[in-house]
Subunit: 295 residues, 4 copies
C-alpha cells in the first residue's frame, strides 16, 4: 500500500538553494483611502484625518526607505495614481534609491465600488502616469484592499503585469494566466495598527505583540519554505514605534543567509521562469447557493 | 452537620486511569461559510475571499494532517457535504491516513437560516455522500457555528450519531439521548485568528497570546480532569504561524503520559459505554419572558 | 503660601490598620441575561447559547466556591431571582458554605428596559424569594449591568440595602443615603472573556494578559489604599483556564497580611460605622445640554 | 550623481542639544463627552455613566498631579469650559501647583456636530472663563476628539493661541499660521483603556501591553529626535492600574538627561522662536472625488 496521498501543491523551489523568500512592500496610500471613503460631494473631509495621513508623505515613506537602506535591502512600493500625481517626485525618488515601484489603483478605489470599465480606465491611466513620471514601464500591480475580479486579472494579463493581491498560497502561483505573488492579512500592518477614530476602527496592537506575530510568521515561512510578504503603509509604519518593530524583524531576517530577500518583481520573474514547480489556479466564481439551496 | 453540598456534576472518570483527555479536531470549512453568507443570487462572490479560503484545500488541511502524523496522533476532521463533493479525494485521504472524519452540514448552513426539514435533508445527503465516498458510515456530527435545536438532536439520535457542538460541560455528557462531546469557544482558532476584511472582523490575536491561552486551558483541564477539545480550521490554522503554535502546544500535551489523546469517536464510545459517571441534560427551550414579564 | 490644594476625597481608612481591601464577588447570571435579551415571544432561544450558560450551574459556580474554600476566604454571590427560583438549592448552599448572597434583579432585567415600578416589583419579589429560600433577609444589591437610577437608590434606602453597582470611587462611599461598595470595569471578567458568537462580542483576552491586568490593579489598590472589587461570573470564570488566573491572583492577594479580604457586606458595615472618613455623593442627573446648547 | 533625495521634512532641532522632547498632558474631560453624546432632551443620562466619570474629579486628576509632583515635572491639563465652570477650583489649583492649563472646548462639543459660529462662541466663552477663574490668559487649545477645520485654525490664529490637536508630524510644525504641537493616537490612553459598556466600546488593553507600547514609542522618539506627546484622561488614567503604568514610563523618561520634559506651551514657544527648522503645512481641504470620479 502507498503512503499518504501527496499534497495537491507540494513544496516550492526557490533559486540558488534558498530555503524561503522575503519581500518588504509598502502600500503608499497616503490620503487615498480616506478621500475615497469621503468621495461624495457633501462628505466631510476633515483636517485631522488628512494631517494624520500627510505624515506619511512628509516623514513616513522616507523613513521606511532609509530603514531599507540601512539594511541594504530593496523594497517594493505600490503608489496609487492620484498620490503619484500630487507628489511628482515620489516615483522617481523610489527608483533612484534602487527600490521597485508598482501600481495601486488611481484613487485607491475599491473593487466593490467600481465597474469593470472604471477599473480599466484607472489602470491605463496609472500605467501612463508611471511611464510619464519615471520613463519606465510598470511591471506589477497590487489591488487596493486586496480584492480582485476575473476582469481585473484579464486586464493584468493583457498588459503583462504580475499581481500581488491574493492569498491562495504562501508562495507564488499562477491564476488566470497571471503570476501571483501572494499577500496575507497576518503580514499587513494596517489591520493591526490602523486607527483614525473612524467607525469600525479597532484597538491598535502593541509593538511587542506585532513583533511576536511577524517573527513567528517569518520563522514559519523559513521552516516551511514559503514567502514572507510583508506589507506596511507610509502613514502607519512610518511612525517611530512601528519602525522599531521593523528594525527588530529585519535584524532577524537578514541574519539568515538562506532567506532570499527580493523585490516582488524579482520573485515574480523567478516564478515566471518556470523552475519552481507547477502551481496553477483558475479564477472561478461559483454559482450562488440560493436558487438551488438544499433540495 | 454535613459538609458542603456536592457538585451537581462530579468528577468525570477517564479510561485506564487517565487524568484528562485531548481531542484535535479540524472543521474543514474551506469556502463553505463565505458562500453561505453570499448565497443570495445577487451577492458578490469575490476572488480575494475565495482564494484566501482555497489555501486551506491546497495546503492547509494537508499540513495539519502532516503535523498530526509527526506527533503520531489521530485527529477528527469535520467536512461539509459541499466541500467533500468538490474535493472527492478528501474524505478518503483523511481515513487512509488513519484520522476520523465527521459530518458538518452540507453548505455549512447555519441553524438560524434553516428550517427543520432543510436540516434533515442536508444531514441525510451528507450521510449518503460520506458512505458513497468512503464506503463506511459516519459516526458523528458537528454543527456549523455550533448551534443546535431539539429537532437536530432528535435527528442525530434517530441516525445513531454522536454530537460535538455544545458547551454544557467540559467533558462528555448526554443530552436528549445523544452523546455530546463538547466544544468551547476558548479552544476555537476562528474566534482568535479569522480575518477576511469583512464587516465585524476582529483583530487577529498574535501567536504568543494564543499559545498562552491554549496551554493554560490544557493545563487546567489536565488539573481538573476534563476534556481539551481543540478546534482549528483548514484555511486558518493551516497557515505557518499557527502551525507553529499547534506544534508547541502538542509538544506539551504529548509529553503528559496521563493525558488521553483520542479521536472524538473514541471519546464518544468511552462515554456511551457508561463507566464515566452519569451526566444527563435535557434539551429544554424555556418559555419567553415577555408575555408574563415581571408581574 | 500654602501647599497644593487637598484632594476632594482624601485617603480612606480601613479597619485594624489594614492598607487595602479585597472582595471576591460572583454575579451568578447563568441563563438570565441571554433570556432577557431574547425576551420577545418570537425571539430564538437557542440550545447552544443555553448550554454554554448551563455550564455555570452544573460546574462553574461550584468550582468557584471550591476555589474560595481552598484559600479559606469568603465571597459574595449575587443571584437573580429567576435563577434562584430555578435552582432552589443554590442560595442555601452559598450560605451553608459560609459565603454571602446578594440580590441581582429578577430576570437580570436592564435599567434601560424597565420602568420604576417594574424595578420595585422585581426588587420586592427577589427580597421575598431570598427570605423564603434562606430564612434570612438579604443585605445588599448589585444592579444587572451596573446601571442605576435615583429611583433605584431610593428604593434601596427604603429597604435598608447597601449597593455594589457604581464606580464613583475605588473605596466605599455614600450616595443618596445608600452605602455604595463600588465596582469597576477593569475588574469584571465579562468584558474581558465573554464570548457567545453574538453580535458585538469581542475577542476573549488571554489569561496571561488578564492576570497582568488584575495583578496590577490589586498592587495599585494596595499601594493607594483602595478596594479591589473583583467580579466574575459562574459560566465565564468557572471555566478551568480562568480558574487558574484566579488561583494565581489569590496566591498574591492572600500573601499580603495587610490586605483585608472581606465580603461586600463586611465592607459595607465598616463604612456605615462611620470611621473611614466622609465620602458623600449626590445622585444628580444634570439637565440636557441641547435646549440651551451653546448660546 | 547625487545621493538619495532629501526628506521633505528633515530632522527637528531641540533646545540645548536635547535629543527629543516629552510632554505629559491630561484632557480633563470628566462628564463632558458623555453629556455631549446624550445632549438631546430625551436622551438617558445614567447615574452609572456619570459616577464612573465623577471619579476623575474626586480622585483621578489629583492623583495624576501628585504623580507629576513626585517626578518633579510639569504637565499641561486641558479643561472644557463646562467642567471648569462646575469645578471653579480646578483651573486655579492646576496653576497653583505649577502646571499649565489649556482650553478644550466648552461642552467637549465635537467638530462634526458644531457650526463655525458655535465653535467661535464656545472658544470665546472658554477664554473668558479662563481669565475670570485664573486671572491669566490661556495660551493654547486642544480640540475635543482631535478634529480641526480651517475656520478653527483661523480663530486660533486670531486669538494668538497655539494648537495641540493634529498629527501631521511627530514634532512641532506650523499650519495655517498656527503653531501646532502634535498629538497621535498611539499615545492616547482613551483608545486603549476607555470602557463604559456603551455601543462600540472596545476591550481595555492590559497595563503590560500599554507600557510596552508607550515605552517603545518614547524610545523611538528619543532615537529619531521627535516629540512624545502623551495624553491621558482624569477618569481613565487616574485609576490605580494606569497610574502604575505612568509611573513606570516616567521612571524611564526622566532617567534620560537628554530628553526635554516640558509643557506644551514651552514646546510651542521654542518652535515659534524659529530655531528648530522650517516645517510649514497648509490647511487645505481637497475637492471631492465624486463629481469627476475616474473619467
Amino acid at each position: 500500500m502507498s503512503g499518504p496521498t501527496p499534497h495537491p501543491w507540494p513544496a516550492y523551489r526557490w533559486p540558488d538553494g534558498k530555503r524561503s523568500a522575503f519581500c518588504f512592500t509598502v502600500d503608499v496610500d497616503a490620503t487615498g483611502p480616506y478621500l475615497w471613503g469621503q468621495r461624495a460631494p457633501d462628505a466631510p473631509r476633515r483636517l485631522g484625518q488628512l494631517e494624520q495621513r500627510h505624515f506619511g508623505q512628509r516623514s513616513g515613506v522616507w523613513r521606511l526607505m532609509d530603514l531599507l537602506d540601512r539594511f541594504g535591502i530593496k523594497g517594493t512600493l505600490f503608489v496609487p495614481g492620484a498620490i503619484a500625481e500630487q507628489n511628482p517626485g515620489l516615483l522617481p525618488a523610489i527608483l533612484q534609491r534602487g527600490h521597485q515601484a508598482g501600481l495601486h489603483g488611481w484613487f485607491h478605489e475599491l473593487v466593490a465600488d467600481s465597474t469593470d470599465s472604471e477599473f480599466t480606465a484607472a489602470l491605463e491611466a496609472s500605467v501612463e502616469l508611471f511611464r510619464r513620471q519615471t520613463g519606465t514601464a510598470p511591471q506589477g500591480f497590487r489591488s487596493p484592499a486586496w480584492e480582485m475580479t476575473p476582469h481585473m486579472l484579464a486586464e493584468l494579463q493583457r498588459l503583462g503585469l504580475w499581481d500581488s493581491s491574493l492569498m491562495g498560497a504562501d508562495h507564488p502561483y499562477e491564476i488566470a494566466g497571471v503570476t501571483e505573488v501572494p499577500v496575507q492579512w497576518a503580514l499587513d500592518d494596517a489591520i493591526l495598527y490602523k486607527f483614525s477614530a473612524l467607525p469600525g476602527d479597532r484597538t491598535p496592537v502593541t509593538p511587542g505583540a506585532v513583533l511576536d506575530s511577524w517573527s513567528e510568521e517569518w520563522e514559519g515561512q523559513h521552516q516551511y519554505g514559503g514567502l514572507t510578504m510583508l506589507t506596511v503603509h507610509d502613514w502607519i509604519s512610518g511612525r517611530v514605534q512601528r519602525l522599531r518593530v521593523l528594525e527588530k524583524l529585519l535584524d532577524r531576517v537578514t541574519a539568515a543567509p538562506d532567506c532570499w530577500v527580493a523585490t516582488v518583481g524579482e520573485v515574480a520573474a523567478w516564478h515566471a521562469a518556470g523552475n519552481s514547480g507547477r502551481f496553477v489556479a483558475e479564477a472561478t466564481i461559483p454559482e450562488p447557493i440560493e436558487p438551488r439551496r438544499f433540495r
